[in-house]
Amino acid sequence: MANTGFDIANARARCRKFRRRILDVSQTVGALHIAPSFSCLELVDTAYNGLMKRTGNPDTSDTFLLSKGHGSPALYCVLEELGIIPRTYLENICKPGWPLATHPDYGTPGIEASTGSLGHGLGLAVGMGYADKMSGHQRDIYVVMSDGELMEGSVWEAFMTAPSFGVTRIVALVDLNDFQSLGQTSKILPNFYPMLDKLRAFGWEAVEVDGHDPQAIYEAVRARSGKKPFVLLGRTTKGKGVSYMENVPVWHYRAPNAEEYKIAIKEVEGCGP
């Protein structure tokens, strides 16, 4: 059972707040993946606040893996909002004696696997899903992935294996922003597309929606048949919400200076339809 009463207006308000929070944090550390966090924010928030079963007990809750570990600021904001990590964690990110790095670290509250090297999360999910099938645990495993990550061969081993082993309770949410560190995916690797057909051919139920539209994400995942593992391609914009960051590769990793910060804060207030 997923959470009921997923309020779309609230979801949008949360994501605006999270964008502000990430920009604030960016002023205290040099290296934060802002643009990749902004592009997956609605996917992560909708998973936690709309779709996932959360009981407070990991044994009976759904699992969340941020396979695109560099989007961790998005995850940290959600965990903070839910009270799973204290505010002091994010305020002291990347500082000695504090637990948060720019990639999630297994053992930190709310973090269920160490990620950051792309192409690992889905394989872990297949193993976890198979174990759940054996033990009879009724839970889904949400995996947020990047589109660049889909270039890793290990991901395709996992895509092939999950349905072959009857592991159906995976919900992969792909942040399809069409950008990677050095440029635009459709130009660097044209045969990356079409992606939906590839995923379906591998035995997954696959849909594509606007990845910044919480309602579309929520409804598409809720409408899945459950007979096959499920993948949602969320069309997104890297750096969503800040005009000068959107689809500009340098913002994969750069933090705004004081002037840029002011502009960004103003723009994210108006972010979202």
Binding site: L122, L124, S154, E157
Partner: protein, 306 residues
């Protein structure tokens, strides 16, 4: 060793439902066949997909299970190296990685199938335990120990098939983590591990024949964590110590014993015999390949005398 691993695994898995075997299209012997027949849901062949094999194991372990990954050593640890390092070791999960044919056991298959640097590479990863039994009986004991004594990831370096018994008359019992005296002696001592232990014993016999006396021999089956205290004691007690290993000269036992000798300030003579820092393009028996790199009792003895 394959067989004794398979039988030991079968016994472990029979009574512990947390134990899985994940293979990448290679499997072992009768014990595993029985396991596969009786517990097909815990025998997973992911196909020729080693990254998936390790990812699957790590995912199973994250849910509280104890998975074994099993294939030829090069494919257990080299192809999916980052899954080994990040998924298993960084997260400190109880995944047991079994490498068949460690060293250059697959002598006719060429360098693609030789794991001649495995001990160095696996030992370099934090949280990893590295085990290399010398004969089938030790392989069975170490399989058991990998579950019962080690809460984290393990690399278990095995031979193939047909290795002789070397330990049934050993003066010391197997103790996990502790170098095991398998042949008593004084004055001269050989430290070794894995399949090449048979040759190390042949070298000991050759020395005895030529010089008289008794040459002690240790199976240093637990390579990480290395029992430095016992080894320092050996270096202090014996006048001449040799290390014989089927491994590249970098980062294996020989280099570690040399460092230990320096740190302990011992005065013994120390000789290390290993594979060369070269790929092997010689094809033939396992013995032929080792000989091409100077690992043969006669060749080692000649070098001792120089």
């Amino acid at each position: 060793m394959r067989n004794s691993f398979a039988n030991a695994f079968y016994e472990l898995a029979k009574s512990d439902k947390r134990i899985y075997l994940v293979v990448a299209d290679i499997t072992a012997a009768a014990g595993v066949a029985s396991f596969q027949k009786e517990s097909p849901e815990r025998f997973l062949n992911v196909g020729v997909a080693e990254q998936m094999m390790i990812g699957m194991c790590a995912g199973l372990a994250l849910r509280g299970n104890i998975p074994f990954a099993y294939t030829i050593a090069t494919f257990t640890i080299y192809r999916p190296f980052e899954q080994v390092r990040v998924d298993c070791c960084y997260q400190n999960l109880p995944v047991k990685l079994v490498g068949v044919g460690g060293g250059v056991n697959y002598s006719t298959l060429g360098g693609t199938h030789h794991a001649q640097e495995d001990v160095a590479i696996m030992s370099a990863i934090p949280n990893m335990t590295v085990l290399a039994p010398c004969d089938p009986a030790e392989a069975a004991l170490m399989t058991k120990a990998s579950v019962e004594k080690v809460p984290g990831p393990v690399y278990l370096r095995l031979g193939k098939a047909g290795e002789p018994d070397l330990t049934s008359k050993a003066p010391e019992p197997f103790v996990f983590g502790k170098p095991r005296l398998i042949k008593p002696g004084s004055g001269t001592c050989v430290l070794t591990y894995g399949v090449i232990t048979k040759m190390a014993l042949d070298l000991a016999a050759k020395i005895e024949q030529a010089e008289g006396g008794q040459v002690a021999t240790y199976s240093v089956h637990t390579l990480k964590p290395l029992d430095r205290e016992t080894l320092a004691g050996v270096l202090r007690r014996f006048e001449r110590v040799m290390v014989v290993e089927e491994h590249s000269p970098q980062g294996g036992l020989g280099m570690q014993v040399k460092a230990l000798a320096f740190e302990s300030g011992v005065k013994c003579r120390l000789h290390t015999f290993s594979l060369q820092d070269e790929f092997i393009h010689v094809y033939g028996s396992h013995g032929d390949l080792l000989k091409a790199h100077g690992l043969h009792p006669d060749l080692m003895y000649e070098r001792l005398k120089k």
